[in-house]
């Protein structure tokens, strides 16, 4: 394997194949996340959910995909045509690029990643901050006041919660001393007779809670789905989108959901380590649990009002995250000194 990596052309072949496999896996996972959400939401609301196409409705997404792909690619009059088309592309590109730095534990001591860079998690943040453009540009280019307001709301929301999200992870970085996701998962402790990796939630429980809330807001999911609050804004920035361009936004949203779930599993729950469960299954199980949490939240909580959302972000989560950083730092220094 290392021989292939050292050969310049072999290296490129390996990387391209790896990207292709990853793209396929993430796309498939996205499709079944949508299915999972619809079935789970259905059961929460005491109805069966999709169950007609294929066994247990498993082919529903294929049917929906074909339907949406064959729809007329409609662009309303007086829109900014170029930007209207570019915006959903940015969303999809940013969503998929984040998977370049996410390591996947396949088996014991066998991991898979495309780029193992020093800045790791920060790259995911950088890409999620670019995601704002997709929404603002889409909303603006639609030439529709509801789209514009939805886009702007979303920009304000994402900027506000990005800070809490970033600061929530600082204690983790301080403890581990690295931003590399692999180092964070492999972080080992020696507590009495136990020596091995631990889920970092034990060390930064507050950081995890802040991350969880802020991540829901970052992915525009209920109860923080204000950019597309339908009672106030029709469909928000999505109002004028249909067909494949709508699918791209939809896809980006679900890929982002899987990304933040995977990050939560890696950062706080020890990634692919889980007792005797094989690594790849453990990692998958943790992601699915987080996805279920998302769906559960959507089925349970009413949407927040806009001022409540802003108050929560700026006056609760951000100060809490800063205090968490200071407390963690103090404890770290005290325990070393």
């Amino acid at each position: 394997m290392s021989g292939i990596y050292n050969d310049p052309i072999g290296h490129w072949v390996v990387v391209v194949v790896a990207i292709a496999i990853l793209l396929f896996v993430v796309l498939t996972a996205t499709a079944y996340t949508v299915w999972f959400e619809r079935v789970a939401l259905g059961h929460i609301q005491r109805r069966p959910g999709p169950n007609r196409v294929g066994p247990w409705g498993l082919m529903q997404l294929a049917a929906d995909g074909v339907k949406l792909a064959f729809k007329e690619s409609f662009v309303p009059a007086k829109t900014e045509r170029t930007l209207f088309v570019v915006a959903p592309c940015i969303a999809v590109a940013a969503a998929f690029l984040a998977w370049a730095v996410i390591p996947i534990g396949l088996w014991y001591n066998v991991q898979y990643w495309i780029a193992d860079i020093n800045v790791g998690v920060l790259l995911v943040f950088a890409l999620s901050s670019l995601n704002v453009y997709a929404i603002v540009i889409g909303g603006w280019a639609s030439n529709n006041k509801y789209s514009l307001l939805g886009g702007l709301r979303s920009a304000a929301q994402l900027i506000s919660y990005e800070m809490a999200l970033g600061l929530a992870l600082v204690p983790t970085f301080m403890i581990v001393g690295s931003l590399r996701l692999r180092d964070i998962v492999e972080y080992t402790v020696t507590w009495g007779p136990y020596h091995g990796p631990i889920p970092l939630i034990l060390l930064t429980p507050i950081g995890f809670v802040i991350y969880l809330i802020a991540a829901v807001a970052e992915t525009n999911r209920a109860p923080f789905d204000l950019p597309e609050a339908e009672q106030e804004l029709i469909g928000g920035f999505l109002t004028e989108y249909s067909g494949l361009k709508f699918v791209m936004y939809y896809l980006a949203e679900y890929v982002n959901m899987i990304t933040v779930s995977a990050l939560a599993a890696l950062l706080f729950f020890g990634g692919w380590y889980l007792w005797f469960v094989p690594p790849v299954l453990a990692f998958l199980l943790k992601i699915v649990l987080f996805l279920f949490l998302y769906i559960w939240l959507r089925g349970t909580f009413p949407r927040l009002r806009y001022d409540m959302l802003m108050r929560l972000g700026w006056k609760v989560l951000l100060p809490l995250a800063i205090v968490n950083v200071i407390v963690t730092g103090t404890i770290l220094v005290a325990s070393q000194g």
Partner: protein, 168 residues
């Protein structure tokens, strides 16, 4: 490979820069500026400055430009109408550009290029750890003073945006 990426990124940066001044729609100018920022971040990455690369994307492309976009998006899709009374600026600017290039050319006359410093340990250069260490040891005072400056600016902005007689 690096040289190919360099030229692509450099071309993107120049094209974005031209876009900033030549588009008639403010929002397109802002987006061109975003292209410049991202192209510059790629150049930082080529220089092994991983942290600067990510900081450039997060801070400039992700935060500063989004605020620009936020304000300009509210203007609506109106195009700026070209004003004809400033026509004389075109010839004047050509003159200034010529002068600038002359100066640049004169400046680059005595330049000698040198090889990159081979003694630098590339395994830690530009990493988060080395930058953090630098900021909190060697550059502690400038770093803290800068943060004070930013705090003053933030407080000033909050004070100025307050309405008269608003006690909240």
């Amino acid at each position: 490979m690096a040289i190919v990426i360099f030229f692509i990124a450099a071309a993107m940066a120049v094209a974005g820069g031209i876009g900033v001044i030549s588009f008639r729609q403010p929002i397109r100018s802002v987006l061109s500026l975003v292209v410049v920022m991202i192209a510059l971040s790629v150049l930082f990455l080529l220089l092994s400055a991983q942290f600067i690369f990510v900081a450039q994307v997060i801070v400039y492309a992700g935060a500063v430009m989004v605020l620009f976009l936020f304000v300009i998006a509210l203007l609506g899709p109106a195009k700026e109408i070209a004003k004809s009374r400033l026509r004389f600026q075109a010839s004047l600017s050509a003159l200034f550009v010529l002068a600038l290039f002359g100066l640049l050319w004169a400046m680059l006359q005595g330049v000698t290029y040198r090889q990159p410093d081979k003694t630098v340990d590339m395994s830690i250069f530009g990493t988060v750890q080395s930058i953090g260490l630098g900021l909190f040891t060697k550059f502690l005072y400038p770093f803290e003073l800068t943060s004070l400056l930013l705090l003053v600016a933030a407080i000033g902005a909050i004070y100025l945006s307050r309405k008269e007689g608003d006690d909240r």
